[in-house]
Symmetry: C2
Subunit: 341 residues, 2 copies
DNA sequence: ATTAGCAGTCGGGCGTGTGGAGTGCTAACA
DNA sequence: TGTTAGCACTCCACACGCCCGACTGCTAAT
């Protein structure tokens, strides 16, 4: 456990670093946060915090910068709460509270307003769980490949390709198709994702089907991953304005990660959490994109539809502001939905 | 008109500059493209081409780089045609020709494959012209504001706000609403965009409506701009990999322009052109984003639905490759659609 | 445990110098 | 008149070296 003074100092380092991204010196901390100690004392504490993994010294004659561990500790225990400014609240309400229109338009509006207020990238994911599988079709392309097609309720189709073992004839394909339909029809596409192959279903004499089945289910998993998910992102540019992306290589790495919408959607949705609850993930250790932090909140948007709203920025993010904005937004959206569409 | 030799030299400069983005020297041209002339002769020609506006000399002891004018001339008259490599054609066909699924999925696939093959940003715009206006509603928010809502066929709603003049009561608002519905119901939302206010409709005693009407129609124009348009973009990252975006400021400027989807959609769609025809716009003079070139092709996707496929990259773009890829893609898509959805 | 003071380290900004790439110009030549 | 060789000139890009200043860690005193 950290002593009170260590906590104060760590908090000072993080606060200062969030405000301006240069290593924090002992003297600065003394002057601005802890006038009761000498800078030497603070230096000792900093040194201790460094060996505990909370701080990093870029080089020997530089101050300290917080590690990802420090940011996590900061968010969980140190950060003082703050309230949304009335100006911000007003902006949000003006934009959203009278918004008429389709869910898509509200999503777009939400991403724009969050990016505007926080100056980070904003993502909204809508998950529609009501869409169920009507049929699975296997089409022999007669070149050793099998086309796997999923047909769902809402006529959304997904398709993928599988290599066909040599010894398969059309009867066997038809048989495989019957089995697949028996297992999956009427279920939600998301069921593939956690589906364990039920070997029991296939008795010994049909063991040759096993390999094919596994492949097909893998394809179905992959192909259905984004089904019913709608991802909207805005303000990649905003995040790039921050100093961690001062060189193009880092900027491009960030953008490359943002292009993987499946990944982003997964990050935003994979931990449940009640309506309006806030989650913070910092760094790739917590499954956020590398060098990034993700703040998420969830709102339910009616039967079988749920939404996740998130902000993606550098680990050195202004968490206080982001949390406050997301909180307000989710509150308003829950309110909007509650009033009945 | 340019002499043959000037054309050859200009073509050499552009080709060489596209291949590697450094100023092209007279000696290089001589060695690689025109061994029959001396470098001095070429220098004279270069100097002439420069004063004609085709070339730019970054500084006195540097070679020449092509101006936007040179690129336009190159695309229109100099560039030698080339054919798609069989490898590329195969990639495209494998990806697309067996693609089953919704239009949205095909759009996504198209953006990905184009970005992959060209290494530039790719955009697809779908325009659905079949959506018509069912009703226009004016809601008095009783704070001096009027909420304008458009309801269409497909239950898409759009809304915007207008300041209400002081002397308007609910009867007048109802009257205005009746007029608006009379004019626009049953028409396509795009009709706002080129709509000229028909003063004749409003006779003198109702001239007070004029100001309000104009405002409302402006809002309707703005609000309906993207109606029925679906913009999908991929590979902003790819374009940034090119050397013109080596510094972050330029990269951010590019990205900021890419965030304006309305603008991009307009660039891609605003010049008709037959199915499969290719358009090249170079530089902001031709309404492309600043410093960028846009290559576009159009495909019709059935009744009242048309699509535009585009590639956005730096002015120094590999036009030959982009044209070839877009050509192949549009061919396949026209084929796909032709076979009957 | 805290603190003042001092020696030591390292990054980064800045001026200088130089090599090399490429031109424009001139004068000679076909 | 068009082409060419040769030369003087320009200017960028890069490297080198320098030094200033920012901070620290350590030591010794309180």
């Amino acid at each position: 456990m950290l002593s009170d003074r260590k906590k104060k100092i760590l908090c000072a380092v993080v606060d200062s670093y969030i405000e301006s991204p240069s290593p924090v010196a002992s003297k600065d901390i003394q002057q601005e946060y802890l006038p009761d100690c000498s800078s030497a004392t603070i230096r000792n504490e900093l040194s201790a915090l460094e060996s505990m993994g909370y701080l990093i010294q870029p080089h020997v004659s530089a101050g300290r910068i917080p590690s990802e561990k420090a940011f996590r500790f900061y968010v969980n225990e140190l950060m003082c709460e703050s309230n949304i400014t009335s100006a911000e609240a007003e902006v949000i309400e003006r934009y959203l509270s009278r918004k008429v229109g389709s869910l898509e338009e509200v999503m777009t509006a939400v991403t724009h307003i969050i990016a505007e207020l926080t100056n980070y990238t904003s993502v909204v994911v809508k998950e529609d769980m009501s869409d169920t599988i009507t049929a699975i079709k296997l089409l022999d392309l007669s070149n050793g490949k099998l086309l796997v097609v999923i047909v769902t309720d809402s006529r959304v189709l997904k398709d993928g390709m599988v290599d066909l073992p040599d010894d398969f004839d059309e009867h066997m394909i038809a048989q495989a198709q019957r089995w697949l339909n028996k297992i999956f029809c009427g279920k939600h596409v998301s069921e593939f994702i956690n589906f364990d192959y039920p070997f029991a279903l296939v008795n010994d004499e049909f063991s040759q089907y096993n390999a094919l089945f596994k492949k097909i289910i893998d394809v179905l998993k992959k192909v259905s991953l984004m089904n019913g998910m709608d991802v909207e992102m805005y303000g990649e540019n905003r995040t790039l304005a921050h100093s961690e992306y001062a060189n193009v290589e880092d900027a491009r790495k960030f953008l490359a990660q943002m292009e993987n919408k499946e990944r982003i959607a997964e990050i935003l949705t994979n931990d449940g959490g009640a309506d309006g609850s806030l989650t913070v993930k910092i760094g790739s250790d917590e499954n956020a994109p590398e060098g990034c932090a993700v703040v998420t909140t969830r709102v339910s948007l009616g039967d079988n539809i749920s939404g996740s709203i998130g902000v993606i920025g550098p680990v050195r993010m202004n968490y206080r502001k982001v949390l406050v904005v997301l909180d307000k937004i989710s509150e308003i959206i829950i309110d909007l939905v509650g009033k009945g569409e």
